[in-house]
């Protein structure tokens, strides 16, 4: 199939009604090509997580339309087109690390014979093969989140949705996991939609960064990240990296009213 793998057209989301109404999203459009790594960045409460949850069919949009591989998000969810990683690891504490990673395969009715092998491979990919038989509480926060990534990718989804996955981690752990995520991503063909409020994280990871304004949330500008891959720890020290960080930061600071005048909307909108 050609064309965007994820397409969001003029999506709005309103929570509550009457006096307590909140316009979480309004007129949001974007298109993501297969294999892209897209970050959406914005201040807290700008509706970026809501957007991701609409794409994942965890929330219904109030207006507009989303297509994933030409299907509705509902159908895409039923087809298990995406894996998701939340801000917290959301591991099941009664399952060992290995069994947590096997969970999607179990639920999806994959042959029992392939559970162990696939889960083991994924744990190897995130560097946790030595911790298969541990319980989640025995792992650090960063390790738990790596398990969550392994679990999200174990069934080979074509899309990976990540909702501020490293937001709760310390800076050093976050940077290390950024590197690992890129190396994992390069070994899969997954398209990534990544929500973050860290500018440097967004620039470091992405092929494009979309900047959202708050209330109502909408995409104000898109910054294409042309940093060469593979990106390494050194990438963060290059002048181009700083340029792009500055560009994204400016996008975030812009007065929404001014920015709206020259709205940067994606192709295909």
């Amino acid at each position: 199939m050609n064309g965007p793998i994820i397409e969001v057209r003029d999506v709005g989301k309103v929570f509550g009604r009457g006096a307590g109404v909140t316009h979480a999203l309004e007129g949001t459009s974007l298109a993501i090509e297969p294999g892209e790594f897209i970050s959406i960045i914005g201040p807290s409460g700008c509706g970026k997580s809501t957007l991701l949850r609409i794409v994942g069919d965890l929330v219904e949009p109030s207006s507009g339309a989303v297509t994933i591989k030409g299907k509705s998000p509902h159908q895409a969810r039923l087809d298990r087109d995406y894996g998701i990683v939340f801000q917290t690891p959301v591991l099941y504490e009664w399952r060992t690390v290995l069994r947590n990673v096997e969970l999607p395969l179990e639920v999806m009715g994959r042959p029992r014979s392939e559970w162990h092998g696939r889960a083991e491979t994924m744990l190897q990919l995130v560097g946790l093969q030595a911790f298969q038989q541990h319980y989640p509480w025995q792992l650090s926060g960063g390790m738990q989140q790596r398990v969550a990534i392994a679990r999200a990718l174990v069934f080979n989804p074509s899309i990976l949705l990540m909702d501020e996955p490293f937001g709760a981690l310390d800076e050093l752990t976050r940077e290390r996991l950024n590197l690992e995520l890129l190396s994992i991503w390069s070994q899969t063909s997954a398209t990534v939609l990544f929500i973050t409020h860290s500018i440097s994280e967004a620039v470091f990871l992405s092929s494009r960064v979309m900047v959202m304004s708050p209330r109502p949330g909408r995409i104000e500008r898109t910054v294409t990240i042309d940093l060469p891959r593979p990106r390494t720890a050194h990438t963060r020290a290059t002048p181009r990296f700083f340029d792009l960080v500055t560009k994204v930061r400016e996008g975030l600071r812009e007065d929404p009213a001014v920015a709206a005048g020259r709205d940067v909307v994606e192709e295909g909108a």
């Binding site: 994942g56 069919d57 965890l58 969810r77 039923l78 087809d79 298990r80 995406y82 894996g83 998701i84 939340f86 917290t88 959301v90 099941y92 504490e93 009664w94 399952r95 060992t96 969970l103 999607p104 179990e106 639920v107 999806m108 560097g127 946790l128 030595a130 911790f131 038989q133 541990h134 319980y135 509480w137 025995q138 792992l139 650090s140 960063g142 390790m143 290390r176």
Partner: protein
Amino acid sequence: MARVTTAVAGRPAGPAARRGSGLIGEYLPAAVVFIAAIGLWEAFVFGFNIQFYLLPAPHVIVQAFRDNAAVLVGVGLYTFKEALAGYALGCGLGVLAAMASSRSPAFADLVLPYAIASASVPIIALAPLAIVWFGVAQGSKIAIVTLMTFFPTFISTVRGLLSVQPQSLELMRSYAAGEWQTFVKLRLPASLPYMFNAFKVGTTLSMIGAVVSEFFGGPERSLGVYISSKAALFRTREAWAAILIACALGLSFYLVVVLVERLVMPWHASTRKT
């Protein structure tokens, strides 16, 4: 691999490694307290020259237990069977009713206040009526124990089943998991700690329910009747010996459930320490 090992350096390999060692150290203080309490009891009875029919010294109780061991074990097991049957019924029905009503959180919210109110009613007060309904034999006792254990189990299990984190549910939703899968792989295991809390409380409740029900009337060979008839004859040492076996049975019952809990939930916080 270096980055992996540093993260948990200094931690033992697994739960098994941290148990085992220090078992004596863990239970030694409790054992010392127990022996001291028995010693004090003995000293109190002899020091103040208490009549044995008022309060027999521990060694007298042990003596009475030895003299009547066969009878005591017989009446103890008779009553324990009632407790066990009522417990199994009460816990089983409680879990089933909780599963059924938690399918609809709105319904669960509707019945929960009534269940809590019922749990605070002294169900044992129904024991004389239970005899009218179910006869003087084991049936009436089992009915009381069933009622006594049903409500705590029901309340805890409903709470457990509804306590599941929203994101854990969203994860299942993202897998397009069916309702049954979500129940078996998420709701049920997540509510196990709540259930076991009720199961543990239930062991004590079931022994109390069975013995006290028998005070209102029961066959000769039941623990409650044995205790009340011996006490009425001022043969308190035998009554105490019967209380001793009631304690032993209740405690063993509790410990067995704790053991099952550890086997079923090796991952749970309650088994992490030590």
